[in-house]
Assembly symmetry: C2
Homo-oligomer: 258 residues x 2
């Protein structure tokens, strides 16, 4: 099986022009087949504010009403996706910006209301992901750049968590490729105080959670990572966007293994 690198880049890097530019330079230099999944960043909140739409966040997730949905579609699938794509093409990567709604390749459903109504938020139907489009593109040396927007079977667009998309794609593509999933953000990895935890296993993860070393936003990220490993992904790593190359070579960041 061929190697495939799937990289998720977070909002904090996207918001920082210099950091993004550095990251894209490194990304461009990766020679193996590669997929980039990107998140949102502050632009969404800023644009919402300018338009008089109030941003509601509950348990770390944006509540997506109809107006907010339109903003996320415009910013994620439009502004961020096409700017990253154009910049990568200028560097030599044959980048193609798409989202989960294209060719309906990441089918999702609108999240059911329980205590909280998340609005137009998508839950990915992992088993129904259609990898044909991605495989065709990768075979022709295209590098898909994926915005975190999906759709349901009725054609309703849905705002979808980018970490989840990266992990679901990694799982689906692990039948065809040796997948290395990398979460890039503005920290050196999973931290214990000031120190990077070099490796986390299923066992040590439980202890890290229990001792509250791993908290908040890191938990869904790690849950996604362990879920990916469980379903065939070769390796998952988390680290600083600036050290992408070293992370891929397991010389930086936190490595997640069984």
């Amino acid at each position: 099986m061929k190697e495939l690198v799937i990289i998720k880049i977070g909002g904090n890097i996207i918001d920082d022009k210099k950091a993004l530019s550095k990251f894209l330079k490194t990304y461009n230099s990766i020679s193996s087949p590669k997929i980039l999944v990107h998140g949102g960043g502050k632009v969404t909140t800023q644009l919402s504010e300018k338009l008089g739409i109030k941003t509601k966040i509950v348990e770390g997730r944006r509540i997506t009403d109809a107006d907010t949905l339109n903003v996320t579609i415009m910013v994620y699938a439009g502004l961020i996706n096409k700017n990253i794509t154009a910049k990568l093409n200028a560097k030599g990567t044959k980048a193609i910006g798409i989202c989960g709604a294209d060719a309906f390749f990441i089918p999702s459903v609108k999240r059911k209301k329980n205590n909280i109504d998340y609005g137009f938020v998508g839950d990915v139907l992992t088993d129904k992901i259609n990898t044909k489009l991605l495989i065709t593109l990768l075979k022709d040396n295209y590098a898909p750049i994926i915005a975190p927007i999906t759709a349901n079977a009725k054609g309703q667009l849905l705002n979808t968590n980018a970490d989840t998309i990266a992990s679901c794609l990694a799982k689906a593509l692990s039948k065809k490729y040796k997948v290395k999933l990398v979460y890039c953000f503005e920290k050196e990895g999973v931290l214990n105080g000031d120190n990077v935890i070099q490796s986390i296993t299923t066992k040590t993860y439980q202890a890290l959670k229990k001792n509250k070393i791993v908290t908040d936003g890191m938990i869904p990220k790690l849950d996604n990572a362990f879920d990916a490993i469980k379903y065939g992904v070769k390796s998952v790593a988390i680290g600083h966007a600036e050290k992408l190359k070293q992370i891929i070579q397991s010389n930086a960041g936190t490595s997640i293994t069984k």
Copy 2:
């Protein structure tokens, strides 16, 4: 050679929910390989107004400053493109929403300042259009939905006329396909008073312009059409979006021939 239908749909149809829905239903029923190029519509102007960006139009063309460019990227490549794409996928068409910046397949240059500085507006480098991506997608029965955003070699995104994109793509793809180019809008075709002109040739076009039957916005549309015919496109037709099927069968609209 296989037949390929390239359809350009204008802003007035996109602004009208019912008309768009009808159009997409008909578009979905076209069984030959097909490409859809869409324009913008009022949403761009409305969003610009809400954001306090003044819309400047000179000689029928939007002046695209940096803020306006971002709005066009968000609306064209994001909101409109992904909504059309998701709706078509729900109907069965394997639609993929892209723009000219993806895989740098429609290279363009920033329009040179003469009397007017159009800002971030792209002029397509027709000879450099790379049809590989489209041919790959069409071969796998995907239907590309193309937003009128392109990029230059430096990765600068540029707002680009959708009529021109449709005509340039038609020309570039005519080496590989028997291309039928259709411009759909809210009128029955090129009109002489209340009557549709069924056919226009290079010769009759000159007379129509001279007698001011064809004026304003129709001139660049027809110039694009004749240019397409000149460079190998099999036929060009202009007509009402509601009559798409009849137009394709040459039973409605205005037909443009040598």
